[in-house]
């Protein structure tokens, strides 16, 4: 790594990733991965792994603030968690067997449709 740390873009990247992740309850990783890849010259799979190490403590702090304000619905959270852990395992194993690029495009279309429905 030859680039200097603590440049303005580095500081902004960390701060904005945290801000979005706390404000929207997700999305920190979707900012960090391309940010590290393009701005900091980190290999893509290392950027993914590093992003998780950054987001985990941020999610804990945000979750704590959400809990303090009483916006957590625990029974729903637990059900989603059970499904999510199982799904995460399946997804990680499927990664090499399914053309990720096609799936990515299909889900991108879902995201755009959902986005439009959420705004209007």
């Amino acid at each position: 790594m030859k680039k200097k740390m603590f440049t303005l873009k580095f500081i902004l990247l960390g701060f904005i990733a945290g801000l979005i992740n706390g404000l929207l309850g997700s999305g920190g990783g979707t900012i960090l991965v391309p940010g590290m890849f393009f701005l900091l010259d980190i290999e893509e799979h290392k950027a993914h792994a590093t992003a998780i190490s950054v987001i985990l403590p941020l999610a804990l702090v945000s979750a704590f603030i959400y809990i303090k304000h009483g916006v957590i619905v625990w029974n729903i959270t637990f059900k989603i968690m059970i499904g999510g852990i199982l799904g995460g395992y399946i997804g990680a194993n499927l990664l090499s067997k399914i053309p990720g690029n096609l799936l990515r495009k299909i889900f991108a279309i879902f995201m755009i449709i959902a986005a439009i429905r959420m705004v209007f």
Partner: protein, 120 residues
């Protein structure tokens, strides 16, 4: 049971690295009666165990660049505290619209994402 299924599907997408949260939150908004903040809280908390397991694996494989993740965590914590306080204090409608706009651009990004390693 539907909730476990939503968790499962978003977990699979998350495990494949396509962004589980950006699918989970709109799914919860469109299929349940949760508020935007509640859906975001579900996502924050359900991310924790999944990320924890993934992180152990990534640390073992030495894919986490701690020299980068540690300062990013510090910066990100500032952002996430600010973002979380904003999130729990603004109206669910405005927050949902913010999320929708973010999701729209993330959807575009995912759609045009190229799976090849870019060289500069």
């Amino acid at each position: 049971m539907n909730l476990v299924l939503i968790g499962l599907l978003s977990g699979i997408i998350g495990g494949m690295g396509i962004g589980g949260g950006t699918i989970l939150i709109p799914a919860l908004i469109l299929f349940t009666s949760l508020t935007q903040q509640q859906a975001q809280g579900v996502n924050l908390l359900s991310f924790v165990p999944v990320a924890f397991i993934a992180l152990i694996t990534h640390l073992k494989n030495k894919n986490v660049k701690t020299s980068i993740s540690l300062p990013l965590i510090g910066l990100g914590l500032l952002g996430s505290i600010l973002g979380s306080f904003l999130a729990v204090n603004i109206s669910s409608d405005i927050l949902r619209k913010f999320f929708g706009i973010f999701l729209f651009f993330m959807g575009l990004y995912e759609f045009f994402y190229k799976d090849k390693r870019r060289t500069k």
